[in-house]
Amino acid sequence: MKKVSRRDFLHLMGIGIGSVTAAHLISGCEPDIPPPTVPPEPSLTPLQPLPTSTPTPQPTPTNTIQPTSVENPYLVVTHGEDPEQHIRQGIKALGGMERFMKSGADVIIKPNICVPYHTYEYAATTNPWIVGTLVKVCLEAGAKRVRVMDFPFGGTAKDSYRKSGIEEQVKAAGGEMEIMLPLKYKEYDIPNAVSLNQTSVYEDILTTDLLIDVPIAKNHGLAILTLGLKNLMGTIQDRGAIHNDFDNRLVDLATLVRPHLTIIDAMRTLMANGPTGGNLSDVKIQNTVIFSQDTVAADSFATSLFGLLPQHLGYLVNAANRGLGRLDYQNVKIEEFNING
């Protein structure tokens, strides 16, 4: 074999590095990089505030969601002690998981796993069995894979996943815990933003076939309550930017990241010293789970569990005003029942 001289070697290296750099430059220099396409709007129904007293929920079918009958309830609220039955019967009442996904879909579940400080009993993180059952239900409906992820604000994801008990349940159910690594965050423009024009979002959150927002309902100093909309802050990189002009910026984010389904865990709710918690005396057992395609409506209903009105939360009012969902949950078709079994 011909011996490669140093000069030849350098030439080859030069060509190699040059072509990689060129590819890099070309791909990086497209004129006016359009913001990566936002996935098809999930069916956040009545975009106009509905003054009518007759609820007419019209879930718009999109390419990921099968056509639904008009009879499906807008909100489902379940009461009972068994988290697994909550999810199974709640999803069924909402029309079944098949309504939200096709077979072979890629599903992301976004619970609240904010810190690795306490176990689920302290109600700072979402109930692990609720998340686990949800994974099972998605897989049973034919999901190709189900990933569960959150970006904790204290400690590492690894520790938080473990401490919350969610990792154990998700793995047992056949799902994956994914660590949200910085490489996959992309800067997105937010069209029609009031205050937050750009933010870096974990790409898969926006491109997945089905995004399920599974917050735990709890107290929060700034937001008053952290529910479905507030839980979306775990999908972006720079949370600090949201804390300023919070009530507008959170809604700006909600126009970009739109979960297809919101399930609020109010089995155990943290009534004070949130969002981190640590006192069992601050935890109120409510044994309730709320389901809706409309995050705003689900959040609005959840305020009642804390003796509040949706109007008390500035960001909910703003979200409703900007057509993201309904504040008047009393006027929609609610199916509320006690789970059996």
Partner: protein, 511 residues
């Protein structure tokens, strides 16, 4: 095909050198993998600090200084016993720093006449100074223990640099459309195992790197300069090696051909003394065994004490070292910082503030395991004496409420092993709000980040409400954060997350 006639009887002796090189490679790999995986997962901390506990120098100095015996220290007896049997084989076969110095061997000329043999005494002096200083409650010079050098440099410099390169290459390839998915999958698979989620940043990382490079550059003066003349651990093992069982012996059929002398990495083979060597210097590298055409060498068991050398430590070395130690202690005691202690200078949770410098062996493992990157190396916040010890820098990382990793990893208990409940009550400092710079107090805008972040179950930061008059004359009500210093443990997450640029508007001070 005919084999060269001599290949048969040579092969066994070449095998020794090959075996050594393989052992060195595996050992270096092992030490590297161990330090990379340390703290990546909360398991097997006992194994993770094993390399540090191997060092009899660090363990003995710590024992003298803290007067506390820990059962983990007994691991270092392994090295002492091994030197009684096979001399400084540790240096030639296992020591990670030794292997690195062998890799970066610039100089092929073996016998360096410019450096006098007496220079070898330096390492003994160094060793005695370290041990005497330990009696005077000073452990500063343990930054020169080869095992701490290796761990510290890997943690503070080499791994963070590797992380940056790794990330840069990934970013380059992720921009190529058809590769991006593969890169994402690779990143997800590899990074959580070997690197922190966010690249680690350490203050004085460059200085630590220079220190390491300087040691390597000493190789320009002579092969394995550090091991021959400076290494205090080598000196420690050398003292025992004089009694070692397996020593190099030259038989009568030596042809005085110089070959062994030429390839001796420590230059201890002396033609003037019938090509004999000093067992306190010999690393049993087996090069001479390989090179001897006459098979005139053996490493057979001998019960004897090595003859005294001109550079061996004696009464004079001891006296000089005593003088140096005393001077050093005196010098350190005139540091101005002792009269003016910094109050924004925090120790790891549970660590004694004043005595910490006399307990810490400066291995840097705590900085490796700290999940937030808050534990940083100190250079002079509390005086040069404390160089190399860990401090908590909240702006870079906070003490995570449910983590006690530093106490678990510390090989000498300088950071005490606290259970989580105890750690959560260990006061590191107390937070103070600088009202003039606080967004809520000064700008009258809504910001409650410090309250939100406070991990205490009852929140040591609470919200008060204040009424202010806005520029347009209207009255506004703002939530104002207030620190309850009775409760505050000074974990520093408030300081870390404070959105004010530069120095935070809430800072943790020692009390």
């Amino acid at each position: 095909m005919d084999k060269p006639p001599h290949s048969r009887h040579w092969s066994g002796r070449i095998a020794w050198v090959t075996a050594r090189k393989i052992t060195q490679g595996l050992a270096l790999l092992g030490f590297t993998v161990l330090i990379i995986t340390t703290g990546m997962d909360r398991a097997a901390y006992t194994l993770a600090n094993f390399p540090i506990r191997l060092s009899p120098l660090a363990m003995l100095a710590s024992l003298i200084c803290s007067r506390t015996f820990l059962s983990g220290m007994t691991v270092s007896l392994l090295l002492i016993f091994s030197s009684l049997v096979v001399g400084r084989a540790w240096c030639g076969w296992l020591c990670p720093l030794g292997t690195i110095l062998e890799i970066f061997q610039f100089r092929k000329t073996k016998k360096d006449t410019r450096i006098p043999e007496r220079m070898r005494a330096a390492k003994y002096g160094f060793l005695i100074v370290i041990l005497l200083s330990a009696i005077f409650s000073n452990l500063t010079l343990l930054i020169f223990d080869p095992l701490t050098i290796f761990t510290r440099t890997m943690t503070l410099t080499i791994l963070p640099v590797f992380d940056q390169l790794f990330t840069a290459i990934e970013k380059l390839f992720v921009s190529i459309p058809f590769l991006s998915n593969a890169v994402y999958r690779f990143d997800l698979l590899i990074r959580p195992v070997i690197l922190p989620v966010k690249p680690a940043v350490f203050q004085y990382a460059i200085l630590t790197g220079f220190f390491f490079v300087a040691i390597i550059l000493l190789n320009l003066l002579a092969e394995r300069f550090w091991c021959r003349y400076l290494c205090p651990l080598g000196a420690f093992l050398g003292l025992f090696s004089r009694l070692s069982l397996f020593k190099r012996r030259v038989k009568d059929d030596c042809a005085k051909c110089h070959l062994c002398e030429v390839h001796c990495p420590t230059g201890t083979i002396d033609p003037q003394k019938d090509y004999s060597s000093d067992p306190a210097e010999c690393t049993l590298c087996m090069n001479c065994l390989r090179d001897c055409p006459k098979k005139a060498l053996s490493f057979s068991p001998t019960f004897s004490r090595a003859p005294r050398r001109e550079y061996d430590p004696g009464r004079r070395t001891l006296l000089n070292s005593l003088l140096v130690s005393v001077t050093l202690s005196a010098l350190l005691s005139i540091e101005w910082i002792r009269k003016y202690p910094r109050n924004h200078f925090l120790r790891p949770p549970g660590a004694a503030r004043d005595a910490f410098s006399s307990a810490c062996i400066r291995c840097g493992l705590c900085m490796k395991v700290c999940p937030t990157g808050g534990l940083q190396v100190d250079l002079s916040q509390s005086g040069i004496e404390a160089a190399g010890t860990p401090i908590l820098v909240p702006r870079l990382g906070y003490c995570q409420f449910s983590c006690n990793a530093c106490g678990q990893i510390c090989p000498v208990g300088a950071i005490p092993l606290l259970d989580l409940k105890e750690k959560q009550n260990a006061v590191i400092g107390k937070a103070y709000i600088e009202h003039d710079r606080c967004i809520a107090w000064s700008d009258h805008q809504t910001c409650i980040v410090c309250e939100e972040m406070c991990p205490l179950p009852q929140k040591a930061i609470t919200l008060d409400s204040g009424k202010f008059v806005a520029p347009d004359g209207s009255s506004i009500t703002i939530s104002l954060p207030v620190v309850n210093r009775e409760m505050c443990i000074g974990c520093g997450i408030c300081e870390n997350k404070c959105p004010v640029a530069g120095e935070a508007a809430i800072r943790v001070y020692t009390t």
